[in-house]
Subunit: 159 residues, 2 copies
């Protein structure tokens, strides 16, 4: 995926705002400064290839920013999370991974062998939420739905 930022001369106008653009814009709108480190972190978050962990993000940026610290990654994720622009996936083993591409709740299918994450389409989920709300009298604000299993590749590769 290619992300081009055309600076303010203004002639070029990309019509489809990427997730990257949206997050940067929202940071600006909320008075956050756009530092090089932050920019780089947002770039990774916005793509969310493989749903990276904090460590993944840190490792990807160590070359470009040799002095960068983990704390900076953590702090930026907290900031972006507070704007609702990244979804935190907490795993049973205690690790966290991040999705800034689809920052709203959605189901995941996770391979416990290769850690691949797939986003399935499940249209019955909205209905289920209503069912839960009416059964429990809760006002549902959020949800989390993850399936754990083994992907077809890993199934084929096991002897």
């Amino acid at each position: 995926m290619k992300i081009n930022i055309i600076k303010s001369k203004g002639i070029e106008m990309t019509e489809h705002k990427t997730r990257f653009d949206i997050i940067i814009q929202k940071l600006r709108d909320n008075g956050h400064k756009i530092t090089p480190q932050r920019l780089a972190i947002v770039k990774i978050i916005a793509q969310s290839e493989g749903h990276p962990s904090v460590e993944d993000i840190y490792d990807q940026l160590r070359n470009a920013f040799p002095t960068m610290s983990l704390a900076t990654v953590y702090r930026n994720i907290i900031t972006i999370k507070s704007l609702g622009e990244v979804l935190e996936l907490g795993f049973p083993d205690g690790s966290n991974r991040y999705d800034g591409h689809k920052p709203y709740p959605h189901p995941h299918v996770i391979c416990i062998k290769c850690k691949k994450i797939v986003d399935p389409d499940l249209d019955s989920l909205d209905e289920m939420e209503k069912e839960v709300a009416s059964e429990t009298k809760f006002k549902i604000l959020n949800h989390r739905l993850d399936f754990f299993g083994i992907c077809s590749e890993c199934m084929a590769n096991q002897h």
Copy 2:
């Protein structure tokens, strides 16, 4: 907590094997010794009132076992988990709570105000799992479904 099991002939029999009995039995069967601390921990896990955390369990037992350590609680939960007799609920804030009453995956509805946890009935879940399996070609082994919201009591109490 009473457990009624309806046998196939339609005769209702009250099983006197409680979750507590089952877990203790399974521990014995697997060569684990039944120490007083373990017994007490299983008793709490088996009831799972309010889905206790490790700290909750520890606090509940400090009176009875003043010298007991957190490590003992952790180690016992690991043991019981390895037997599949307790479900670990990992929360977005990083905390864990435990359910030995229904140790198999099941949906939860959690009040983000008072932390109450309700188990709703959702019969469409099995079907959803099949849908996911066929769509993604994963072999699904496990799942996690949690709804977060505000319960009716908390909604009434807020001005």
